[in-house]
Symmetry: C2
Subunit: 342 residues, 2 copies
């Protein structure tokens, strides 16, 4: 700090400003601003002189200052669970594409499923004054966002509903999808069907479990406690859960996997199992067609696109009441879900 004061000459890292351009071009500051922003009221000759000065100095407008003056940043924030998860890549890309169409940049961050980290990220984005936020909630209490939303930050929650706050949401039909997937197994003759899902704190996890229960009830099957496993999706736990369900005197004959990570591990476990066990997974997976894995597919890109379009509609205009959109899922039969009970 004192260092900086004593050495006022860190030329390296200093960028030319409009003032510098103006001086070099021999015009006023505002004229440079006009040229940079393609505003009318500049003669071609003046414009040329200014443009030359810009090129010569390598001037680039400082958007921070611009934002300060104009109030909008032309950027939106996306907070998701993990960018490395193959479900979120396409979702993020879809959001980016919509943002681009609206001239906005995308800042994104991974919450790692940690509510505190989600909060930190979201607030950091608000401090940057993003115009809008798309959040895949990790926590279940988003009241901390109330002042932000009131202040005009458009916010859309995705994949899971917001906690204790009224806001736009774009969800997939987790309940219906799981119900359909489990019913599919029932149709193929299964009655002892296992469910392996994510932690119950996660909304989609409980919705899918609810769908499982509904389908079982529809079929008149009483679910046994040891057919259901909820918890982290790390391979170790999922493997243990699957193996437990597949052993014992009355093993399950089919598995329903609650998300893509669970499905992957389940496939690995089943590959080493001599019995032929049926499997339906929630979320599609690359190469699942080649492996013949039947899935309940949700279109990640469509979810992202829908959310982003919602966001910009809200940014552009009317302050209609918060809406809740639910996108359908699609059962894709590829073999693993059509195996008969062993």
């Amino acid at each position: 700090m004192a260092e900086t004061a004593r050495h006022p000459e860190p030329r390296y890292g200093t960028r030319p400003t409009m003032k510098d351009v103006a001086a070099r071009a021999g015009v006023g500051l505002k004229t440079v601003s006009r040229v940079v922003n393609s505003e009318p009221g500049v003669t071609p000759d003046t414009e040329r002189r200014v443009q030359e000065a810009i090129d010569a100095l390598g001037f680039r407008r400082n958007d921070s200052a611009r934002v300060l003056r104009k109030g909008r940043t032309a950027s939106i924030g996306l907070v998701l669970e993990d960018l490395a998860d193959p479900f979120y890549g396409p979702l993020s890309r879809a959001v980016e594409e919509v943002a681009r169409a609206h001239g906005a940049l995308l800042i994104n961050g991974s919450s790692a499923e940690d509510p505190e980290r989600e909060r930190e990220l979201v607030l950091a984005l608000c401090a940057r004054r993003v115009d809008g936020l798309i959040v895949i909630p990790a926590g279940d209490d988003h009241r901390y966002l109330e002042p932000e939303i009131k202040a005009g930050v458009a916010t859309v929650f995705v994949d899971r509903p917001a906690g204790r706050i009224d806001a736009d949401m774009v969800l997939s039909d987790s309940f219906g999808g799981a119900r359909e997937g489990v019913a599919h197994l029932v149709e193929h003759g299964h009655r002892r069907i296992g469910f392996i899902g994510d932690r119950p704190r996660i909304h989609t996890a409980t919705e899918r479990l609810r769908g499982y229960h509904a389908a079982m009830t529809d079929a008149g099957i009483t679910v046994q406690d040891d057919w259901v496993s909820l918890g982290t999706t790390d391979p170790g736990r999922v493997k243990a859960a699957a193996e437990a369900m597949l052993s014992g005197p009355e093993p399950v004959t089919a598995l329903f996997a609650g998300n893509n990570r669970v499905t992957v591990t389940a496939v690995r476990v089943l590959a080493e199992c001599e019995r032929r066990v049926a499997l339906v997974g929630f979320d599609d997976i690359e190469l699942a067609d080649l492996l013949g894995i039947t899935v309940v597919s949700q279109d990640a890109a469509a979810v992202g696109r829908t959310a982003a379009e919602h966001l910009f509609r809200r940014l552009d205009g009317a302050g209609h009441a918060p809406a809740r959109v639910e996108l359908p899922t699609r059962l894709v039969a590829r073999g693993s879900g059509e195996l008969p009970p062993a």
Copy 2:
């Protein structure tokens, strides 16, 4: 402002500033700044009053103004090809993780392999005054970045070298990896080996092709023109190319796939082929272990991490000469690459 005085609650779309907080807490503006930034020199009592005002008003510091004053944005930009590509997800996440450790946010954008779009994105990021840039080049001329780098924007190029400019780079050993992969096929008795890669404009594509040629030459094999196909990686073209190589009087007995997208399509084509054709792919793929696909694997997360660490080292300090880092690849044998010639 007089308005604000009459309505203690902030109006929709207007955010409270430090001035508002100061007024409400009955202190000076700078005192609020001190509290917000945890600077010393504020009595506990004053701090409490300020904090109360902050909470009551829902104040959030405006980082745009802060940036304007301080010069650093604590954000870095990542320009890659396509966030939806499973190779870039983990890379991006790794970059984010390093950025987070340095208190920086990540802005990323997809160039869609379009040089002009890459340029637009990069310059937009520079206008936002990101502290640093990580770029996976789409174009082959990056002289447009010269003024930016001179002005102090730390820049690291990843996966492919920068064009006509001297800068830091983090690459994978495409040449060596491809050479090793093709040699692996040779070792298993193949002589007629096909190569399907990306457009020659892309550096990694030509490097991998070079590795292929080197391995063939090492083995004393003369490559026939129709064994090599370079072009877009869309499934249609790759499928056609693979089918062409697999038909005719002297079909290839093995394929080397130039990247993950090509590998995926190749696997699909080979699955419908009655002959058993060997396959080695560049880049690992989820579930490749279950499908028994032999690959030359590059660690996307390691690439991202290395690049980001490089970036922050440069940001933090010494202006050493631009470095070029090359990360090794690893051959993972899983079956498809060990098939004998049919």
